[in-house]
């Protein structure tokens, strides 16, 4: 991955850092509780919960440390408007996986590619359509035609 000094995203505020740390503490505590429920056994006879208990204990501890350091943490990035692009991208993928079982991969792939090209990538209408259709065609030829991958397909 290239590191571009010109394009540094501003650091996240302490709210983000506090929330992150709290999530980690919560996760660690939940896992800790779950491990205890599984049965910890003893040091000589470790049970299924022993190891997760140790790990979640460390996790909770570190989460608390991060909570304490939340104000001074600078290596998180601020969420801003271009994060909506990521949201859109994830939404398109969720739609893809929801539809692929029922109507095959061709249409969801074409739609996903078009959305990514036109709306997330800012490419022109015509280029987006052309590349979307071309990609689906190529995938069809390679995956369904040449490799006979059993992916659900309509045509």
């Amino acid at each position: 991955m290239s590191s571009d000094p010109a394009g540094r995203v501003p650091a996240a505020g302490s709210v983000t850092n506090v929330v992150t740390a709290l999530v980690l503490v919560g996760l660690g505590a939940a896992a800790f509780a779950g491990s205890l429920a599984l049965g910890v056994g003893s040091a000589a006879r470790p049970g299924p919960g022993t190891w997760p208990m140790l790990v979640s204990g460390v996790l909770t501890g570190l989460g608390l440390v991060l909570l304490a350091l939340a104000r001074r943490t600078t290596d998180a990035e601020r969420f801003h408007r271009s994060g909506l692009l990521v949201l859109g991208a994830v939404a398109s993928m969720i739609v893809f996986v929801a539809l692929i079982g029922t109507i095959g991969f061709e249409i969801p792939s074409a739609v996903l590619a078009f959305v990514w090209l036109r709306f997330l990538g800012g490419e022109g209408w015509r280029l987006s359509v052309v590349i979307s259709l071309g990609t689906v065609a190529a995938f069809y030829l390679i995956f369904v035609g040449a490799l006979s991958v059993p992916i659900p397909h309509l045509f």
Partner: protein
């Protein structure tokens, strides 16, 4: 009032620059050269190299025209970018180079020149290479 020219390091771009220089000299206005690559890719063949840009500046000073170079990357359509700069710089004329596009090419990729011509609200000078 300025003359704005859309430039690419191609024969069409060179033709447009030559015509734009003449225009600017004739009108006595400064020349704004827009050489804006598409943002995103690391390398763009649309961007004039520093040597090429220096050569353009030399030609402008020889012709006695004040040249301003705009090379910031743009997102979206180059036609929109050109028109935006023309608006910003209060252009009296926009100079563009015309490229030969087959009807099929125009169908798939469109014509930037056509977009500029149809959307501009000020005179457009379209030239072809000699």
């Amino acid at each position: 009032m300025t003359v704005v020219v859309g430039f690419l390091p191609t024969a069409e771009g060179e033709a447009a620059f030559t015509a734009a220089l003449d225009e600017a000299a004739r009108r006595g206005e400064p020349l704004v050269l827009v050489n804006s690559p598409r943002a995103g890719a690391v390398v763009s063949a649309d961007l004039a190299s520093p040597e090429a840009a220096a050569a353009l500046a030399d030609r402008a000073s020889e012709a006695g025209v004040r040249l301003a170079l705009r090379q910031e990357p743009h997102t979206g359509d180059i036609a929109d970018e050109l028109l935006r700069v023309a608006e910003q710089e209060n252009a009296s004329v926009i100079v563009i180079g015309l490229r030969r596009r087959s009807p099929v090419g125009k169908l798939f990729l469109g014509s930037n020149a056509q977009r500029v011509l149809l959307a501009a609200d000020r005179p457009v000078l379209a030239v072809k290479p000699a």
